[in-house]
Amino acid sequence: MMEKDHKKKAEPLVSVLLPTYNRRSVLPTALSSVVRQNYSNLEIFVIRDGGEDVSDIINSFNDPRIAFIDRSENRGKAFSLNQALLQANGKYIAYLDDDDLYYPHHIGTLVNALEDGSNCQVAYSDLHRTYCRIGPDGEREVLSKILDISRDFDRFFTLCFNHTLHVSLMHTREILEKTGTFNEKLNILIDWDLTRRLSFFTDFHHVHEITGEFYHPVGDSDRISARYHKEQDEYVKNFLAIRTTRPPKPWPKIKDMSIILTMDGLNEQVQDTLVSIWRHTFYPYQVYLPLRQSEFGKLDMEIPNVVTVPVESRASKEQSIDAALTECDGDVIAIVPAAFPIRNLWVEDSLYALVNSSVSKEAFELEDSTYKLWAVILNREDLDYARKNFPHLPLCQSLKAAGIIIRRVLAEEIPFQYDQLLEQARAAEKDGNWLKAAQTFGYIAEHYQNKLWIRTQAVRAFFKAGLHTQAAQLVHQVNQQRPTVDTLLLEARLNRRKDCKSAIEILEKAEQMLEFPFNQVLQNDPVFKEKI
């Protein structure tokens, strides 16, 4: 059906980027999975990022769609991908790591999603996390395939952390003109860095299909991410660099936030607050720091996204705000005293409520705001209006005089509620409180998106809670739509007592799923057979 769909119109060219470094034993599997896609209009860039020679592997495929960038110097994944991007002609770009693989419908599925007229310039699917054991000859033995990440696009979450693996992702080539390419200064999280920048310009289309797998060796991992996770300082450095990256404007999907920091004078506390903001703020921001002439040059620190604004030496707090306001270009403005406590989500809770509010003329006091340390966030146009019309009044009074309603954020308005509920369900599972876990999953499935995956999680909880009838009904529904090894195993266990033969059929499907694609597509392929 899918094949028919994308044969109706001309297939757009897709560029697949496959960097490789010292993984000769698994590269043939990865490359075969691209070459054997149901979708044929591909250009495949294999980039050797130094390390072992792989030209014999590439040549043995004898496929004119493969372009081999053979570099003996190891310059990192970001550099390799950028090198291929310079040559890529595809309407769409897809990525594959040399130790992962696509299922045969991967490219076709994502192209369909991008061509369906939804205006998304990014689409992504789900992947199996495949646990494997590495044999002495480097061969991988698949032990388990888990669908542990399947999440609908959430811009706030993407800004905070990664939930989309690049192996599962495809985007238009033209969007890179806005986002820029991979950041070669980073040595970890380069995927998230680009994904985060993409989210400034487009929504992402989540396709609820499993279209590939990424490998997770049991024991020590040779992954770059695993290595750098161990080096905490390096990790934090990269992490903060990504979170403070501001791609060139305009940003059609993100409201820029300006933070005006008010203070009595430049002191250590101000500098500490600036550092805290840098470390705790994930939403794109720029801090505007009103400084007197005498204070210029005293700010001795390299913190990104800090703009100093000159003010007169006797300027009042309001005059400083007004001066900063003329400089800043944020769509939303937070006004924060320098001594304000900064913690995780210190501003994002209120910001989330503000950007999702349909009510005009509304301002939100930050959660930790007090009478002495009063902090507020509001739309720029509302602040402009208040300050223009009531410049003689103190800030709070000018907002009220302008008819702006100032309130605190409500519990149901804060971000990451889905994640908090998911965390509660997981905690209940860990405590062995399966009934609570099942009920929480049920609630999430009822009230949030991505019902299928949540139901998959709920099934196990129902089973463990002894609610076998509910578990049987739910697992059957799930397996009709998107079976996984875990859900098939569970359905077989539930069926076994009354119908052993149907349990055997279900288990055979699970066994095939663990073998796939080696049992079907690749194993019957003479080229692939030769490679492995």
Binding site: R129, Y131, L143, I146, H216, S225, V485, L507, E511
Partner: protein
Amino acid sequence: MDITQNNTDQQKNTTQRYEVLQELGDCNTSVGNYEEAQRCYEKAASVSPDEPGPYVGLGVIALQKNLLDDARIAFRVACRLDPDCSKAYAGLAMVAQQNGDHRSAFDMYLKSLELDTDNLTALLGLFQTSCRMGSFVQVTYYLEAYLDIHPGDISVMFTLAALYMKDNRFEQSKKILLDILALVPSNKDAINLLEEVEHKLAQRESTG
């Protein structure tokens, strides 16, 4: 690639591949497809060589084929891999029982039940060997323990009722039989035994 979640808890000791193969082996054994079951168990053993399950399965198949030596070896391997494997001891007991060594069978069934009072095979095996040996004290204890976990298991309820009667514990026997009839009013065995128990009770009352 960057992994967003720490799902180390998913990295279980047993793997899906092992679980699927073991389950497939068990299901195929249940329907008498021993060759396929054997294939699954052998594969499961190669995937997870430290798990006793596949050897228990192979032992059961050997028992079914009356290959008692093979069965004994397989169950012993399972016991070595997991000294707390109740199923493996039950298997060894069955081998002993088949060989007519009721004393060893009795001991192995007891060992199996000590490790898992929920093991029905061991429970019924213990009952059978107890019948042979004429001693019911321990089997009564394990039948009671089993019923604490599975209060509605009629076959075990009936066995216990029969043992109580044999032991002259008529009131307890009657109570269980009434429980069975509340669950399945047409259970003929229970009706007949209840009749017998009530007769004994009446006799006892009349003799004072």
